[in-house]
C-alpha cells in the first residue's frame, strides 16, 4: 500500500460508488479524490444529487443496498499509525473503526437519536461498544461529553429522552455521541441544515472549538457556502458525482475557477448587493436547470447544459479533466483560464 503524507488522515482516491437500479446504473460518485489532513476541516459542497452524502456514507461504509463501492481506494490512517483501505476492509474490522475512529453526525437531529433510550444510554452505548470500561465509568464519561458540548445541567439531562429536548440540543447530543471515543475524523453531513440560523451559528462555533480541543479532522458536507466560509480550510466542490473544483477556502471565495462554483456563490442572497439603481429588490440568482440524472449523464461536461460560459467543446466527449488551474487550485473546466 502506498504511503500517505505524514499528516494525512484520510485520502480518497478515484472513489466510485454506484447504485445498480435494474439495468440502469446511477454513478452517484464517479472518480472522486481528495485528502484530509490532521486537524483540518475539508468541506464537500454541492447541490442535492451531487454525490456528497454518498461520498461520506462510502467512507463510513454505511451505504444502503444497492449502493456499492465499485472502485478506488479510501486510505485511512488508524490511530495506531497503520494504514487501511476502507473500501476493502472486512466488515468486522470496519466496525472497530466506525464510531470509534471515524464518527458521523447527520442532518436530522430530530430523528437521528433513538426515541426509546435516554441520551445518557445512547452516549454510554458508544463508549461501552468500543472501550473496556464499566457502566458507571461510561455514564460518567457521557456526562463529561454533555458538558463538553455545553448542555446545562448535564447530570440531569443524561436521563432525558430525545423528545424532551429541542433540535439544537439534540444536535449537541449527537455531537457528544460522535465525539465520545475521541475520533480522528468526524464526518458531519449537513449538521446545521435543519436548525435555526442562530442555533446554526452556535453549533458551528462549538464544532470549531471542539476541533481545536481534540485535534480531530472534520469532513463537512454541506450545500451552504455561507457555512463553508465559517468552518472550512479546504473546499471540494462536487457536481454530478465528480469533483469540479477544489481550493483552500480563502482562495475559492476570492476566485472561482469553475462556473458552477461561481453560480453557487451568486445564489447566496445579499441584501446590500441585490438592489437595483432605485433600491428595488432584484430577483434571486438561481442556477438555471437541475443537476443531471446520474443514470444518464450527457456527453462532455455534465454542467454544460446549465453553464453560461458554454462553448462547443463542452458538450463533446471526453469531458474536461480536473487540472491545476493555479497552484493548489483544481478545476474541471475547459475554460478555467477565461474565468
Amino acid at each position: 500500500m502506498t504511503e500517505l503524507a505524514a499528516d494525512v488522515v484520510l485520502q480518497v482516491e478515484d472513489l466510485r460508488t454506484h447504485f445498480e437500479l435494474g439495468r440502469r446504473v446511477a454513478k452517484s460518485v464517479d472518480g472522486v479524490s481528495f485528502s484530509v489532513r490532521r486537524g483540518e476541516t475539508v468541506a464537500v459542497v454541492g447541490e442535492s444529487g451531487s454525490g456528497k452524502s454518498v461520498t461520506s456514507l462510502s467512507i463510513m461504509r454505511l451505504l444502503a443496498p444497492p449502493g456499492r463501492i465499485i472502485g478506488g481506494r479510501i486510505l485511512y490512517r488508524r490511530r495506531d499509525g497503520s494504514m487501511v483501505d476502507i473500501a476493502e476492509l472486512p466488515e468486522k474490522a470496519m466496525r472497530a473503526v466506525r464510531g470509534r475512529e471515524i464518527a458521523m453526525i447527520f442532518q436530522e437531529p430530530m430523528t437521528s437519536l433513538n426515541p426509546l433510550f435516554t441520551v445518557g444510554d445512547q452516549i454510554s452505548e458508544m463508549i461501552l461498544l468500543h472501550e473496556p470500561v464499566g457502566r458507571a465509568a461510561a455514564r460518567a464519561r457521557a456526562k463529561r461529553m454533555l458538558e463538553l458540548v455545553e448542555i446545562p445541567a448535564a447530570e440531569r439531562r443524561l436521563d432525558d429522552y430525545p423528545h424532551q429536548m429541542s433540535g439544537g440540543m439534540r444536535q449537541r447530543v449527537m455531537i457528544a455521541l460522535a465525539l465520545a471515543c475521541t475520533p480522528s475524523l468526524l464526518i458531519a453531513d449537513e449538521p446545521t441544515t435543519a436548525l435555526d440560523v442562530t442555533i446554526q451559528a452556535q453549533i458551528l462555533d462549538l464544532l470549531r472549538r471542539l476541533q481545536a480541543q481534540i485535534g480531530m479532522s472534520i469532513l463537512f458536507v454541506t450545500h451552504n457556502l455561507g457555512v463553508v466560509a465559517e468552518i472550512a480550510h479546504e473546499v471540494v466542490v462536487m457536481y454530478a458525482g465528480r469533483v469540479v473544483e477544489q481550493a483552500p477556502v480563502t482562495r475559492l471565495f476570492e476566485r472561482q475557477k469553475h462556473p458552477y462554483t461561481r453560480g453557487l456563490l451568486a445564489c447566496i442572497p445579499d441584501a446590500s448587493r441585490d438592489r437595483g439603481a432605485a433600491g428595488e429588490r432584484l430577483r434571486l440568482n438561481p442556477i438555471p436547470g437541475n443537476v443531471p440524472n446520474v443514470t444518464a449523464l450527457p456527453a462532455g461536461c455534465s454542467f454544460a447544459a446549465r453553464c453560461p460560459y458554454v462553448v462547443d467543446v463542452c458538450t463533446k466527449d471526453p469531458g474536461p479533466p480536473l487540472v491545476a488551474a493555479e497552484v493548489a487550485h483544481l478545476s474541471r473546466c475547459w475554460r478555467h483560464e477565461a474565468l
Binding site: 463510513m60 466506525r98 470509534r100 447527520f106 430523528t111 426515541p115 426509546l116 452505548e125 423528545h163
Partner: protein
Amino acid sequence: MARYILQRFLGMLAVMFVVVTIVFVIVRVAPGDPAAVMLGPDATAQDVATLRARLGLDQPLVVQYVYFLGQLLQGDLGQSIFLDRPVTTALAERAEPTFFLTLFSILIASLIALPIGIYAAYRRGSLFDQAATTAAMLAASIPSFWLGLIFIQFFAVRFGLFPVSGYGGPDAGFLVRLQHLALPALALGVVSSALILRFTRASMLDVLGDDYVRTARSKGMGEFRVVMRHAFKNALIPILTVIGLTAALLVSGAVITETVFGLPGVGNLVVSAVLRRDYPVIQGALLVIAALYVLINFAIDMLYLVVDPRVRY
C-alpha cells in the same frame, strides 16, 4: 403517567358498561320467550307464567336492568338452567383449558411470527421474504379447525404422538394436559402467526429505514444489535397491539377448535349452552369474554407505557 393510567382505566370501565348493557338488551329482545323455550312445547301457560315470575321476566325492563346490574356487581351471573349450578362456577370450571390453550397458542404464534417477520423485513425482497410472505398468506386463509383435523389425522391417528381428543380426565397431571393441548395450540398458533408475522414485517420495514437505525450503525455495532435493540424495540408497539388482539380473538375464537379437539373449555360450554338455550350461561360467557377482551387491551395500553417513554398522557 398516573393520568394516562387513570384515563385508560376509566375507558375500560366505560366500555365494560356498554358491553353489559348491550348483552342485557340482546338477550331480552331476542325472539321467543326464554321461559317458554326453557320449559319446552308441552308446558302450560300457568307453568310459563310461574317461571317468568321466578326469573323476574314479568318486571319492567328498567327494573330488570337495575336488578341485573346489582347482581353483576356482586359477581353473580345467575343460575344455569341445565347445569344445575351458578354460571360463575360453570365458567370457572371451564376456564383452565381455554386459558392455557390461548396462552400456548399465542406463544407458538409469536415464536413463529417474530423471528421470521423480523428477518423477512431485514432481507426485504429476498427469496426468504417472498417465501415468508406467501406462507403467511396461506396460513391466514386456512381455517384452524381444518388444520386441527389434519393434525389429528397425522400426529394423533397415524403416528400416535398425541392424544386424539379430550383433556385427559379430571385427575390427569399437568404433563398429560400439556399433551392434550399440544395439537390444538399448534393449530391455532400456526393460523394466528400469519397476522402477527405480517404486522412484524411491516412494522420492522417502517423503522429499519429510520435515521436512528443509521445512527446505531454509525456507532460501529453489529447488525444483530442494530436490528434487535434499536429497530425492533421501536417496531414493538404495533406488534404488541396485534399480539394482544390476537390473544383476545383466540379466547372467543377457540370455540370451534375446542369442539374439534373435545377440550372442555369455555368455547365448548358456550356451544352446548347455545344448543340448549341456556340463556344465563350464554349471557355470562359473553360478558366474561368481553371482559377479557377489554382487560387484554388495558394490559397492552400499560405495556406501551413500559416500551415508549413518549406515552405519558
